[in-house]
Structure formats: structure tokens, C-alpha cells
């Protein structure tokens, strides 16, 4: 009789998620494609003057990435809920917050990392000055895990519902606001030649806090919503 260890459980979970992404690797590109399309909408809607676009480039890249990760959130627990796997995970003998942290981590790896990778392209499309690029990437590296974590709590709260897409957006966006302000603020400051470290440090502090608190909150929220 061998009961699984926590380590084996986390490994199994992450392995499964990566495998699933690999099996549907076509879909894995969707968030990045979506961000690309949203970014492409702006020159069309605003007119193509490079100077105007450059002014707003960083902000638009962030908004596009934020919307893309919002749409990707739906995949976090929904398929697990619909096929009954989530019930199995909740019933496992291991601490639920740790398992959920692994799940969120895998989700970040498979949806947010492609977004980060595509970000330079998006920025280039909007003529973002190349000096701002490193700040943009750094801000994204800190901001996207925070987005995944904050979103996860809301998804956990709505997972039992059908057709929660719009509602989820309404719950999540207010929570994303501070992340957006600090992340885009850092880039705008860098673009204006001002110091940009303070907002990034604040973001980092938020990330550290969220890493500890969110898995706990997520577990509590899930238990509420699948009951």
C-alpha cells in the first residue's frame, strides 16, 4: 500500500498539465494570437501615426496582455470541473493550497509565458522605443504571475457556474486595475526618462504577498463554490 507523497502529487499535476498543453499545442498559441489581434486593432482604430502610437504603446501592450490573460483564465479550472477531475483533486489526501499553487503555476507557464514572449513583437508594432523594452519585459515578468494569481481566486469562485465568461470579467478586472497602474506606470516613467523602480518594487511586493495568500484563498473559494 503506497500513499502518494505531496511531491509526487505536485509532480503528477504539473506533468499532466504540461502534457495536456502539449497535446493541444495549437490552442496554446491562442492567447498570444488574441493579444496580437487586439494590438492590431489600435492602429486601425486610431490611425497609423507612429508618434501617437509610440506615446501609448506600453499602455496598449499591457491592456492587450491583460485582456488575453483574462480570456485564458477560463481554462484554469473549468475543464477540470466539467470532467470531474477537480472533485478528485479536492478529495486528494494532500493540502489543497499546494496543489492549487501547482495548477496556477502550470497555467502561468502555458498561457502567460507565450504572452511574454510575444510582447516584444507587440511593442515593436506600436513603435515602442527600444530603451523601454527591458522595463516592459521586467514589468511583464512580475505582472503576469500576479494576474494569474488574482484571476485564479475569481475563477475559483465562479467555477460552478455555466457561462460565467462575462461575470468573470467583471469580477476580475477591478482586481487587475492596480497591477495595470503600476506595471504600465513603470514603463511610462521609463519612457519619460523618470525613475521607474518604485512601481516595480511595489509590484514585486504584491507578487510575494499573493504567492502566499492566493493559494489559501483559492482553496477556500473552491470549497465554497463546489459545495
Amino acid at each position: 500500500m503506497r500513499y502518494g507523497t505531496l511531491g509526487s502529487a505536485c509532480a503528477a499535476l504539473i506533468r499532466r498539465d504540461l502534457l495536456l498543453t502539449w497535446r493541444r499545442r495549437g490552442d496554446a498559441l491562442n492567447p498570444a494570437l488574441f493579444a496580437l489581434m487586439v494590438v492590431a486593432l489600435f492602429p486601425l482604430a486610431l490611425g497609423p501615426e507612429p508618434n501617437q502610437l509610440m506615446q501609448i504603446a506600453a499602455g496598449i501592450v499591457f491592456v492587450a496582455i491583460l485582456l488575453a490573460s483574462l480570456l485564458a483564465l477560463d481554462a484554469l479550472f473549468r475543464s477540470d470541473y466539467e470532467d470531474g477531475t477537480l472533485e478528485q483533486i479536492v478529495l486528494s489526501p494532500h493540502p489543497l493550497p499546494v496543489l492549487l499553487a501547482c495548477r496556477i503555476g502550470a497555467h502561468w507557464l502555458t498561457t502567460a509565458v507565450p504572452l511574454i514572449l510575444v510582447a516584444p513583437l507587440l511593442a515593436e508594432m506600436l513603435h515602442l522605443p527600444s530603451t523601454v523594452m527591458p522595463v516592459l519585459m521586467l514589468a511583464l515578468a512580475i505582472a503576469t504571475p500576479l494576474l494569474s494569481l488574482l484571476g485564479a481566486v475569481c475563477v475559483a469562485l465562479t467555477v460552478g457556474m455555466r457561462r460565467s465568461g462575462m461575470l468573470l470579467a467583471l469580477l476580475v478586472l477591478p482586481l487587475y486595475v492596480p497591477v495595470l497602474i503600476f506595471a504600465a506606470g513603470a514603463c511610462n516613467a521609463a519612457q519619460a526618462g523618470l525613475p521607474f523602480l518604485a512601481p516595480l518594487l511595489l509590484l514585486g511586493a504584491g507578487l510575494a504577498l499573493a504567492l502566499v495568500l492566493v493559494p489559501l484563498a483559492c482553496a477556500a473559494a473552491l470549497r465554497i463554490s463546489i459545495s
Partner: protein
């Protein structure tokens, strides 16, 4: 309500005055019962009588509104519960894009492995040789159910809670479930299964636990 005296003094599972309500409406009334090793009990009740809810309460997914559940005579904790009890709900709990084997390996990683069994053996014993590396998506409904049953054979839990294991199965599938249940009972396990009146538990005559809506 329904309580039997059996030889074994400490029951595997026992519930005292167990009740659950939702929105202040009682779903199932206070019931008492106990389940000993080697027993298979059939919970019978009409649609909406609370069979699924009872299984969820017993597995720890829902907190009972009142009453107590004991495992091996001790009050239960969540982690002990999930080592002892395996739930198979309405939903198969399988990832359609993974193969049968990969699905089982995931569940072993999370729940552990019963001594002397392997995923390949379990699949073979359910008549799924040759399907180990087929994505579950491509299996028929009956074959999917078999993969879910294979998971039960692998996890160490002694108590099985099966929600309508016969639903959507043809006659052969029903026989298979019955054979698995008998083997599990012989090994000293126990099982609680639900069914609404229309199905018959064909082999033997299991103990029946009628469930009526509490309201």
C-alpha cells in the same frame, strides 16, 4: 432508519443522525447506518431523493448540516478520509486528451497505489488491453467508464462510493461492475452504490438502504 447488526464490531463507516440541507431545505433526513468490511450496500431512492448528495457528504465534499460520520470508529479528518474513501461521481474524472494509462498515472500520483497492482494490470483486468495508449477521447462511453473503474482498482481506498455506476451501461457493463464489487468485497473492502429504482443490482442480494426526500 436502517441499521444491521453484524459480526464485526467496528464498522468501516458509520453515520449517526446524518442530515444535509441546502437553502434551509432538508435534502435528506437524519439517517443512521453503518457499513462493515465486505459489505456492498445499495442506496435506493427516486430522482432528487438525495443519493448523490449523501455520497458527497460521506466523501467529505460537502459538510453535513448535522450528525456525525465515523471511519473505523474514529471521527474523521479530511486527509484520513481521502486515503480511505474513493468517490466515483456522475462524471468520469478523466482527461479526454490523455491516454488511459496517463490518466491512471495521474491519479496514482495524487492518490497513491494499492499494493500489488499496476495500471497495466488494472486496465487488462477490465478488458482494455491494447487500449492503454489510446486517448480517452477516442474511447466509447462504456470504455470510458471502464477506465474510471480501473482507477478504483488502483487507489488504496478501502471504501468505494459509486454514484450510479450502472447508468448508461449495457448489460455486459453492468455485469462487469457487479464482478468488481464482489471482488472488492471479498478483499475486505466495502462499497456504497446508488441507483434509482429502474436498475437492478443483478448478482446476489445486496443490503438496500432506502432514501426518501426529507421534506
Amino acid at each position: 432508519m436502517h441499521s444491521q447488526a453484524t459480526a464485526d464490531p467496528v464498522p468501516l463507516l458509520s453515520a449517526r443522525a446524518l442530515a444535509f440541507s441546502r437553502n434551509e431545505e432538508p435534502i435528506f433526513g437524519p439517517i443512521d447506518f453503518s457499513l462493515h468490511a465486505g459489505e456492498v450496500v445499495l442506496i435506493e431512492g427516486d430522482n432528487g431523493s438525495g443519493k448523490t448528495t449523501l455520497l458527497k457528504v460521506l466523501s467529505g465534499l460537502l459538510l453535513p448540516s448535522s450528525g456525525t460520520i465515523e471511519l473505523h470508529g474514529e471521527a474523521l479528518t479530511m486527509s484520513r478520509l481521502s486515503q480511505q474513501v474513493a468517490l466515483m461521481g456522475h462524471l468520469p474524472g478523466l482527461k479526454a486528451d490523455l491516454t488511459a494509462l496517463e490518466n491512471l498515472e495521474f491519479s496514482i500520483g495524487v492518490f497513491g497505489l494499492r499494493a500489488g497492482n499496476t495500471p497495466m494490470l488494472a486496465l487488462a483486468s477490465l478488458g482494455l488491453q491494447g487500449y492503454e495508449h489510446v486517448a480517452v477521447r477516442l474511447l466509447s462511453a462504456g470504455q470510458k467508464k471502464r477506465v474510471a473503474l480501473a482507477r478504483l482498482l488502483l487507489v488504496p481506498a478501502a471504501l468505494w462510493l459509486l454514484d450510479e455506476p450502472y447508468a448508461n451501461l449495457d448489460k455486459e457493463g453492468i455485469d462487469l461492475v457487479n464482478r468488481l464489487l464482489e471482488a472488492h468485497a471479498r478483499r475486505g473492502g466495502a462499497a456504497l452504490i446508488t441507483s434509482h429504482g429502474a436498475y437492478a443490482f443483478t448478482s446476489g442480494s445486496p443490503r438496500r438502504l432506502p432514501l426518501r426526500p426529507a421534506a
